[in-house]
Symmetry: C2
Subunit: 215 residues, 2 copies
DNA sequence: ATCGTTACCGACCAACTAGTCGTTAGTATA
DNA sequence: TATACTAACGACTAGTTGGTCGGTAACGAT
């Protein structure tokens, strides 16, 4: 029996070589980068780790991206396109104000439990200063757009006599703020138990009902 | 004129050697570490940078701390002792509910504009996972304590007939949440212009008045 | 003055890692 | 099957940085 050309006790699975087109490989790399970057931050993440998770070697990765920072940039830019809030789906409930509020809060909290969104948010806060223009773009496309849409929606409800003209109608970001609080807790303390999340959701609904519902 | 023993164009001020007692040097090191860590994150910060900002060399720094992680730990632990909210100062205003609310919101927003607090918060979110026990301690000492104190205060106001029994009385964290929203914006987008900060403050007051004031 | 203590210096080392590049091997086309 | 193309490999380089250590100098005590 000939001795193998590799040490015989190699238990690792040596996937021979997987050749993929850039269109399928690049998303794999970005998925891997999201996991690695958000787990350890930009500097502590090694290119080799991203490459390994994406199923290729560092050299292979450099065939698709010219540097670590380019991977990071592409990663954040990809997350720009995701719509955060589909206001349209709220219109189905616009007859009953309470169910509209509940649906809205549920939509917001669903974002909180989305791991991809959480990872992106963590990167945005801790490493966003590397790409100020991308962050500014995200602010426009996501945060400001959300505030605007909420404002339009609520003012229409007021005009239709469905709800009171409250401070949160004039300042729609107040509606989002309880979610910001929960997000901060999740970033600082890790995932919250479902019970606490449900309580946060209910408290949020209570407050909005108190502010908006006609007595 | 004899040539100096150093290159003549050395413009840097070579402070000969400043010998300080640990009691005065260590705070200097932690101050420097807060600036450096919060500006660039844990991994991107070099020991030499902290040392230079603290006015000594790397070797000198290692006379006080046995490693980079120990500096970081001492830094976060120091910030634990700072009281975040002096509930007592609110009691002076407890006669007039509106002025109590305004004073409370002003206290919270003052924290937001405190650069030390902002830097600590940034570190807590982006690098807190390195020291989970310190973070847990911070949660107990600061966040939970604040929620508790707010709850006590508000329930007393309700009992005295000063304000309504609102959702925010049952869930005091809702009162803090607009501040969380502003904090997130500051972390992601840098310092906000004073005008926006004032608008956020006013909106916050408006909402709380709407929720709490007897009509 | 001298002596002991210790905060501090700075050259050095060892480990780590971003990025390079000549080579290898899948895949498509003829 | 032969050939061209290119995704992928992996050993290597160059630069960076956490940590060490023998020595130096400031300061208090006698």
């Amino acid at each position: 029996m000939p001795t193998s050309d590799k040490p015989a006790d190699e238990t690792e699975t040596r996937t021979p070589r997987q050749r993929l087109s850039p269109d399928t490989r690049i998303p794999l790399i970005l998925d891997a980068a999201l996991v690695e970057f958000s787990a350890r931050g930009y500097n502590a993440t090694r290119i080799d780790d991203i490459a390994a998770r994406a199923g290729l070697s560092k050299g292979g990765l450099y065939a698709h991206f010219s540097g670590k920072d380019k991977v990071f940039e592409a990663l954040l830019k990809r997350s720009l396109v995701a719509p955060v809030l589909e206001i349209e789906s709220l219109l189905d409930h616009s007859a009953d104000m309470r169910s509209l509020i509940e649906h809205l809060v549920d939509l917001l909290h669903a974002q909180l439990t989305n791991p991809v969104m959480r990872a992106t948010a963590r990167l945005l806060f801790s490493e966003g200063h590397r790409l100020p223009d991308v962050v500014a773009l995200w602010r426009q496309n996501t945060l400001d757009a959300m505030h605007f849409q909420l404002g339009v929606l609520l003012r229409r409800c007021v005009a239709q006599g469905l709800c009171k003209d409250s401070a949160v109608v004039r300042h729609p970001w107040l509606i989002l703020s309880p979610v910001a609080h929960t997000l901060i807790q999740q970033l600082a303390f890790g995932t919250l138990p479902p019970k606490e999340l449900r309580q946060a959701r209910d408290a949020h609904v209570d407050m909005l009902c108190e502010l908006l519902l006609m007595t």
